[in-house]
C-alpha cells in the first residue's frame, strides 16, 4: 500500500490499482474548517491529471478537488455525501472522496510521498 500527495492537498492511496482511493489531507481539512458540502464526480467519468473532479465546501469557503492522476471514477463515497463532516473527522480514512481506476501509473509515481508532502507543508 502506497499513499502519495499532490500540491493541492489531495492524497491518493493505491492498495489495488484497479481502484485507487482519493481524499483530502489532514492539512486540507484543517485549513478549510467545518466541511458542510461535497460535490462528487459521476461514476464512469474520466478525468486527466489535475482536472477538477469534485468540490468540497466548508462554512466559509469552497475548494476544488483535483484528480491526482488520470483515470476513470469507479466509486464515490455516498457516506461522505450524506455526512460531509467525515472529511474533517477522518480525512485519511472514512472521509475518502472517490475511487479511481488509474490509466497512467507514471503519473502516480511522480507524486510526492509522505515525507516530501510534510516538508512542503513545513516550508509554506
Amino acid at each position: 500500500m502506497t499513499t502519495k500527495y499532490t500540491d493541492d492537498h489531495e492524497w491518493i492511496n493505491i492498495e489495488d490499482h484497479e481502484a485507487a482511493v482519493v481524499g483530502i489531507t489532514l492539512h486540507a481539512q484543517d485549513a478549510l474548517g467545518d466541511i458542510v458540502f461535497v460535490e462528487l464526480p459521476e461514476v464512469g467519468k474520466t478525468f486527466k491529471m489535475g482536472e477538477v473532479a469534485g468540490v468540497v465546501e466548508s462554512v466559509k469557503a469552497a475548494a476544488d478537488i483535483h484528480m491526482p492522476a488520470s483515470g476513470e471514477i469507479v466509486e464515490v463515497n455516498e457516506d461522505l455525501r450524506k455526512d460531509p463532516s467525515l472529511a474533517n473527522r477522518d480525512p485519511m480514512g472514512n472521509g475518502w472522496f472517490f475511487k479511481v481506476h488509474l490509466t497512467n501509473m507514471a503519473e502516480f509515481d511522480q507524486l510526492m510521498d509522505g515525507p516530501d508532502y510534510d516538508s512542503m507543508l513545513a516550508k509554506s
Binding site: 474548517g33 458540502f37 465546501e57 462554512v59 466559509k60
Partner: protein, 371 residues
C-alpha cells in the same frame, strides 16, 4: 513582492494563545476561528455566549455643541433627536445615495460615539474631518479596544463583572467600571442575539477578555462565526451586501431613515444623495436586497448569478452560506424588484448548474434583542 504590514489588535497574543487560526482582514491579522471551529462557535453564541474581538473596528467621537447637526449633514439619520444614552444604526451616503459605510451612533453625556467598519475607518475619518471638521472635533480613539459579548447568556455573564449593565436595554449604553477600567458598554451587537459591545482602554483589554472568557457561559468566537451569525440575522456586511453602488432603499434599510429626515420632515434632506433617496422612497427601486433560502442543500455564495426559469439574469448573491442554526443554504441577493416578492422561486447558478431558491423574509433566525 513585499507583504503588507498587518495591524494587530491588543488581543493578538491572546488569540494565538487560544489557538486561533489567524487571517488578514481589513488590514488586521484577525482570528477566523478557534480550535472548536466556526459551527461550534456559532452555536455557542446562539445557545450561551460568545466573545468576539472587534477592536479592528473604528471608534471615533465627535465633540461640540453642533456635532449632531454636523453629522446629520453626512447621514440620513435622526441624530438631533437621539436621547443621551441611546444608540442608532446609520450610514454615510454619497451624492448618488450610495452607502459609503454603515455605522453605529451613540449619544453619550458629552459626545457622540461612532463605531465604523475597519476597512472604511480611514476613509470615514477623512470624510468626517473634511466635511464637518470645522463644526465639531473629530477624535479617533485608537487607544480603545472593542469587545462584543453576544448570546442569550451574555447578560448573566457580564453581570458578575458589572452588575448594572443588565439594566441597559437594546440600543442603549452607559459608562461602567469593569475590573477597575472605565468602559463604555452598549447593549447591541451584530449577531441577532442579545449582547453587549464594550469599549475598553486597549491596555485593559486582555484582562477584561480573560475575565469574560473565565465565565462558564462564555467561549471565544472568531470572524467566521461572526459572519454566519450576522447573515442568519439578516444584517448587511459592508463591501458585500451594501456599498457605494447600493442605496439604503435598495438595501432595504429605509427603516433606518426616520420620518424627520425624509421629504416633508422637519429636517428633511440636507445629506449627500437626499434627492435620489427621497425619490426612491416615492417611486420605488429597480433592484432590491432580498433573503433567499436554498431548496437543495448546496451552499450558494457571493457572486452567484440568480436567474429565472428560462435562464434570464435577475441579479446576484452578495453573501451566502449553509446556515449553521437552520442547516439550509441562506443568502442575501439583489434581485429585480418584480422578482423579489416573498416566496417567489428563482434559481442560483453554482458551477454552471442551477439550484432552486425561494425569496424569504429576513432575518432567517429570529432576533432575540432585550428591548
Amino acid at each position: 513582492m513585499t507583504e503588507p504590514v498587518l495591524h494587530q489588535t491588543p488581543l493578538y497574543a491572546l488569540h494565538l494563545e487560544l489557538g486561533a487560526k489567524m487571517t488578514p482582514f481589513a488590514g488586521y491579522e484577525m482570528p477566523v476561528s478557534y480550535p472548536g471551529g466556526i459551527i461550534a462557535e456559532h452555536k455557542q453564541c446562539r445557545s450561551s455566549a460568545a466573545l468576539f474581538d472587534v477592536s479592528h473596528m473604528g471608534q471615533v467621537r465627535l465633540l461640540g455643541g453642533d456635532a449632531d447637526r454636523a453629522l446629520e449633514s453626512l447621514i440620513p439619520v435622526d441624530v438631533v433627536g437621539l436621547a443621551t444614552g441611546r444608540q442608532r444604526y446609520g450610514f454615510f451616503t454619497n451624492a448618488n445615495g450610495g452607502i459609503l459605510d454603515d455605522l453605529m451612533i451613540t449619544r453619550r453625556e458629552s459626545d457622540l460615539l461612532l463605531v465604523v467598519n475597519a476597512a472604511r475607518k480611514a476613509v470615514d475619518i477623512a470624510h468626517l474631518t473634511t466635511n464637518i471638521g470645522h463644526r465639531c472635533i473629530v477624535d479617533p480613539l485608537p487607544e480603545r479596544a472593542l469587545l462584543a459579548l453576544q448570546g442569550p447568556k451574555a447578560a448573566q455573564a457580564l453581570a458578575r463583572l458589572a452588575p448594572g449593565a443588565s439594566a441597559l436595554t437594546f440600543m442603549s449604553g452607559g459608562v461602567f467600571t469593569l475590573l477597575d477600567a472605565e468602559c463604555f458598554v452598549t447593549r447591541s451587537g451584530y449577531t441577532g442575539e442579545d449582547g453587549f459591545e464594550i469599549s475598553v482602554p486597549a491596555k485593559r483589554a486582555v484582562a477584561l477578555a480573560r475575565a469574560l472568557l473565565a465565565q462558564p457561559e462564555v467561549g471565544p468566537a472568531g470572524l467566521g462565526a461572526r459572519d454566519t451569525l450576522r447573515l442568519e440575522a439578516g444584517l448587511c456586511l459592508y463591501g458585500n451586501d451594501i456599498d457605494t453602488n447600493t442605496t439604503p432603499v435598495e438595501a432595504g434599510l429605509g427603516w433606518a431613515i426616520q420620518k424627520v429626515r425624509r421629504a416633508g420632515g422637519a429636517r428633511a434632506g440636507g445629506y449627500p444623495g437626499a434627492r435620489v433617496i427621497d425619490a426612491q422612497f416615492t417611486t420605488g427601486v429597480m433592484n432590491k436586497r432580498v433573503g433567499l433560502v436554498g431548496l437543495e442543500r448546496v451552499p450558494v455564495r457571493d457572486g452567484a448569478p440568480i436567474v429565472d426559469a428560462r435562464g434570464h439574469r435577475l441579479g446576484h448573491v452578495t453573501s451566502g452560506t449553509l446556515a449553521p442554526s437552520v442547516n439550509v443554504p441562506i443568502a442575501m441577493a439583489y434581485l429585480a424588484s418584480n422578482h423579489a416578492a416573498l416566496n417567489h422561486e428563482v434559481q442560483a447558478v453554482v458551477r454552471d448548474r442551477r439550484w432552486p431558491m425561494r425569496v424569504t423574509a429576513m432575518p432567517f433566525v429570529a432576533h432575540r434583542y432585550q428591548r
